[in-house]
Every structure is written in structure tokens, then in C-alpha cells.
């Protein structure tokens, strides 16, 4: 089992999207549990990807290639993950705030969360405050993640937090914020629960806030 899992990890790390499904099939055929492939293969390797990025050992193209490889593998694996709901680490609602249509950073955060075993509900870009409120109410996520690339639209993050407070939902969810110009200072100012400077640290921050 260790051998095939290592092959899967190598394939993800080096972005061999064309190899990954064959390797997942090989693992399943060798009776490796789907949940082990997810945990020992994909989740573990995406942690490594994040760490290597933080150390400037790999960059956006390699991270995207790894994420795409993982998703290709995950597509095949998903039907085998029977206990899907209970396997999730948590649920995240995420979006770029109103006025902001930038999404590549947010998409990377989504991929990292998926890689870490979270259920991700991506509301997309230019998301109105009410839509965040509605989804916090109906989806009951543990984490709400807000993204903004642009200093003037950062201010819309505060509007979302205020709208949640007005709706009586602020204490139902942990809010993390990110995007190039966002800082810990700003996050504290607007009353967010956490800030992360990059996609992999966003996952670590979320886990920390959830106490796991």
C-alpha cells in the first residue's frame, strides 16, 4: 500500500494529471481503501504543496498543476468515498466580495480546502452581502472565507461581517479573510476571526479556528 500511495503522491506533486487516474485505479484494485487514498495520498500531498510554496520551492504554475492532478484523481475516487458527509473535515462557504471579480487566489484557496478534505461551497465572484448571509444561514458552514484582491473592495468585507451581525448570525460561523492587500491588522479591524497570507495557510488557519 505504501508504495502505490507514494506513487500517487509523486504524481500529484509533479503534476502528472495524465497518470493519476491509472494510479488511483491501481490502488483501488489493490484493495487500498478510498478514504486512505484521500487522506494518505491527496490530503497529505496538498499539505506538502502548500509548505513548498511557502518556502518558495514551487510556484503558482506547479501548485495549479498539482491541484489539477489531484482533482482529476478525486473525480475518479469520489464515488468510492461512500461515507462522504462524515468524511468531511468541515464546510466552507467562500467568495470574492462585492465589487471584486478576481478569482484565481480564491480558486486556489478552494482547491486547498478540498485537498484538505473540506466541503467547499464556492459562491464565485462579486458576491452581494445578502448572498453570503443567506448561505451562512442555509448551508450552516463552520467557515466563511472572504476574498478581495483590491484595496477599495476590501472594505466590502466589513459590510459582509456587519450584515451577518445584523442577521444575528455572526457567532454561527468563523470568518477568515484573505487576498493580496489584506493584512492581519485589517482583519482585526473589521472583526474577522482569522487572516491568512496564502492558500495553504488559509486551511491551517481554518483548522486552528475549528480546534483541529
Amino acid at each position: 500500500m505504501v508504495d502505490i500511495i507514494n506513487k500517487i503522491k509523486d504524481a500529484v506533486m509533479s503534476g502528472q494529471a495524465d497518470q493519476i487516474q491509472a494510479l488511483v485505479k491501481e490502488a483501488l484494485a489493490a484493495d487500498v481503501k478510498a478514504s486512505d487514498i484521500l487522506k494518505e495520498g491527496f490530503i497529505a500531498v496538498m499539505d506538502e504543496v502548500g509548505e513548498k510554496m511557502s518556502k518558495d520551492e514551487i510556484f503558482i504554475p506547479e501548485v495549479l498543476a498539482a491541484a489539477k492532478t489531484m482533482q482529476t484523481g478525486l473525480d475518479l475516487l469520489k464515488p468510492y468515498l461512500v461515507e462522504s458527509e462524515s468524511e468531511y473535515t468541515g464546510k466552507v462557504v467562500i467568495g470574492s466580495v462585492k465589487g471584486d471579480v478576481h478569482d484565481i487566489g480564491k480558486n486556489m484557496v478552494c482547491m486547498m480546502f478540498e485537498g484538505a478534505g473540506f466541503e467547499v461551497i464556492d459562491l464565485g465572484v462579486n458576491v452581494p452581502d445578502e448572498e453570503f448571509v443567506e448561505n451562512v444561514k442555509n448551508q450552516q458552514p463552520q467557515i466563511l472565507a472572504l476574498s478581495s484582491l483590491y484595496t477599495p473592495t476590501m472594505l466590502a468585507m466589513k459590510d459582509v461581517i456587519d450584515a451577518l451581525t445584523d442577521a444575528g448570525l455572526r457567532d454561527k460561523v468563523k470568518i477568515i479573510v484573505g487576498g493580496a492587500p489584506v493584512t492581519q491588522l485589517f482583519a482585526d479591524d473589521i472583526g474577522a476571526d482569522g487572516y491568512a497570507p496564502d492558500a495553504s495557510k488559509a486551511v491551517l488557519k481554518a483548522k486552528e479556528l475549528l480546534g483541529n
Binding site: 510554496m53 510556484f59 484595496t151 472594505l155
Partner: protein, 361 residues
């Protein structure tokens, strides 16, 4: 010293009479300044600002009219559709244009890329009047900046055409497709500039190109990958401008310090932006490490100090930048990008006051 002498002395790594000043701001900020000073003209505003630079944008577009679409989007020179996005409220209201569709995104073969009907041609521009606009800026440093969306670049048009995520994946999965796109882009700009530059010879001082190679914490790609895809044509762009006697300034946002030795190797004269909150982009450090070979423009923080700092914070930032940048020349102060609408007028005025307070040598 007039403005031209001041800038060029500094860019030649000598000390002028005062640190040269450049001014980058969004239209919203320029309008607020004009209203505050009760003036109409851009030129008068630049004089009040104390800006040593005047910009020219090259030829006028003479190609087919850009297509408009029912969703309100308009195609650009490359056939990339953009839409106006509005944001904010009160004093930080504004708008920007963003891509709605990347025409090459779904293509899977080299043939499709080659056959794309939207590749622009240098024939689409009218070069007849290029250079005439320089006469009005006697005594100023003149920079050819191009049009912002069509500024000489490699990665940027490729990102618009192919989509950011797709072109990044291509650099790993489909190098042939990535190379084909970058080559088409570079061939266009080399042809375009080879028609623009002779008209500007002896009239402009600096040619500026712009291509973002950095994000907040690291370059967008490894040094090896940058060399593989971009170095050759980066050098060609610079060589062409040098042939006509222009200095070359390159704009890039973000943390690009690991790429700077390669920029220098390609002959780059001036690095623009110096986004101070990006990792490793502190002016003092950059000057110590690369100041012998490279001059700098930028450094004023538009991510935090200008929009969220106090007037005193703004003054202190300028003081620090001047202390780091002035010795030995090689520095022109400016905001690290256009000052955005979320910056209050009082901070813009504090910035301009601080420029005057600290710029003398």
C-alpha cells in the same frame, strides 16, 4: 536643473538637485485634485503636483472598431472581452474593467491557437503623428508608456487571451502552447515598437513596458520558468529600445526580487513599482543589492499607508523612502501603482507636501 535633466541625472546614478517625482493616480483621484485646486487641465495638475515626467502613448488606433456585445462588454485589441465593474460606496466608489471571456481558453491544439482570428497586427495603428506630441513637453522627462491595456508585455496579454489559470497550467502541461502564445505576443510588440521607436528617437527619454511577474509573497513563477519562457523576448524588447537611445523602465507589481539579476542581465535600466508590502521589495535593501546596475521608480505604499494611514504615516513613509533612495541618485519617487479611489484627498495632499519637504539633495 529642469525636469528632464533631473530625472536623467538620477536615472544615470548621479545626484540631481532634487529627487525626481513621478505621479501615478486613477482618474478618480486626479478629478478630486483638480476639483480641490479648481483647475481643469491635466497639465496644470501635474505642475501643481511637481511631477517631472510627462507621458506619451504612441500611435492612435486605426483598425476596425472594437466589437460590442449585448452584456455590455467590449472586445479589445486582442479580441478579449471586458466589462466595467463598479464597486464601493461613498468616498471609495470607483470602477475598473475586467475580462469576461478569454478567447483562447478552450483551445487544445497549436493549430487552433495559430488560426485564431483575433491576433492583432501592427498595421492597425496610425503612426504618422507619433512624436509630434513631444514638443509641448519641452524640459520634461518624456516616457512612452503605451496604452495601459496594450503596454508592451508577454505574460499579461497571454493571461487575458488564455485565462490566468490556463496559461499557468500550460507552462507546466502544454509548454508548446504556452510558447506559441508568448511568441505571437512578442512578435506583435516587436513589430509595433519597431515602427513607433524611430518616430520617438531624440524626443523621448524612457520607454516603459509592463508585465506583472510577482504576487504579494513570491514571483508568479520560478526563476527557471521565467528564463525558459520570457527572458529571450524581454531582452529583445530592451535591445530594440536601446538601439534608439531610450532608457528602459519595466513595471511589475509584486515580489520579484529573485528575478532582478535576470532583469539586469537583459539590460534593464529602471525597475518600476517597488510594492513595499510585497516580500523582499524594500527600497533600501534593493538599492544596496542592485543599485549599482539598476535605478528605481516607485515605493509609495498604496496598499496600506495611503488608503488607511494618517497624514503623519504618509509623511514618515516619504521621509524614509527619500533617505533610502536619494543617496548616489538612482531613484525617482512615485506611488507603487495608481493611487486608488479609497485614498482620501488629505492623504494625497500630505503625500505631495512630503515630496516637496524631503526631495532636496
Amino acid at each position: 536643473m529642469n525636469s528632464k535633466e533631473r530625472v536623467m541625472t538620477a536615472m544615470n546614478h548621479q545626484e540631481p538637485d532634487k529627487c525626481p517625482v513621478d505621479f501615478w493616480a486613477t482618474e478618480e483621484i486626479k478629478d478630486r485634485l483638480k476639483e480641490h485646486w479648481n483647475i481643469d487641465s491635466e497639465e496644470e495638475m501635474l505642475q501643481r503636483v511637481g511631477c517631472d515626467v510627462r507621458i506619451v502613448r504612441g500611435p492612435s488606433y486605426a483598425g476596425q472598431e472594437f466589437k460590442k456585445f449585448p452584456d455590455g462588454s467590449v472586445a479589445d485589441l486582442w479580441g478579449v472581452r471586458r466589462i466595467v465593474v463598479e464597486y464601493g460606496k461613498d468616498y471609495y466608489k470607483g470602477s475598473y474593467k475586467e475580462v469576461v471571456e478569454s478567447p483562447l481558453e478552450k483551445m487544445t491544439s497549436l493549430q487552433e491557437i495559430e488560426n485564431y482570428e483575433g491576433w492583432p497586427s501592427a498595421d492597425w495603428w496610425d503612426y504618422s503623428k507619433v512624436g509630434e506630441e513631444c514638443a509641448q513637453f519641452e524640459g520634461k522627462c518624456i516616457i512612452n508608456v503605451g496604452d495601459r491595456l496594450d503596454r508592451t508585455a508577454q505574460l499579461k496579454p497571454a493571461m487575458y487571451l488564455r485565462g490566468i489559470q490556463q496559461i499557468m497550467e500550460d507552462m507546466v502541461f502544454n509548454p508548446a502552447i504556452a510558447e506559441a502564445i508568448f511568441e505571437r505576443v512578442a512578435a506583435y510588440f516587436l513589430e509595433y515598437n519597431s515602427r513607433v521607436f524611430p518616430k520617438y528617437e531624440g524626443k523621448i527619454d524612457i520607454f516603459m513596458m509592463g508585465d506583472d511577474f510577482g504576487m504579494q509573497n513570491q514571483p508568479l513563477m520560478s526563476v527557471e520558468m521565467w528564463r525558459k519562457y520570457f527572458k529571450k523576448n524581454f531582452r529583445k524588447y530592451i535591445d530594440l529600445a536601446h538601439k534608439y537611445g531610450f532608457k528602459v523602465m519595466h513595471h511589475t507589481c509584486g515580489a520579484v526580487r529573485p528575478l532582478i539579476p535576470d532583469f539586469i542581465d537583459c539590460g534593464l535600466d529602471i525597475l518600476q513599482s517597488l510594492q513595499p508590502m510585497a516580500k523582499g521589495m524594500d527600497l533600501g535593501e534593493l538599492k544596496r543589492e542592485f543599485g549599482k546596475d539598476l535605478a528605481f521608480q516607485g515605493g509609495v505604499c498604496i496598499q496600506e499607508t495611503l488608503p488607511r494611514g494618517t497624514k503623519e504615516d504618509v509623511r514618515n513613509m516619504v521621509k524614509k523612502l527619500m533617505e533610502a533612495g536619494k543617496p548616489g541618485g538612482g531613484y525617482m519617487i512615485c506611488s507603487a501603482h495608481n493611487i486608488q479611489p479609497d485614498t482620501k484627498l488629505e492623504n494625497v495632499l500630505a503625500l505631495l507636501d512630503a515630496y516637496q519637504e524631503f526631495r532636496d539633495y
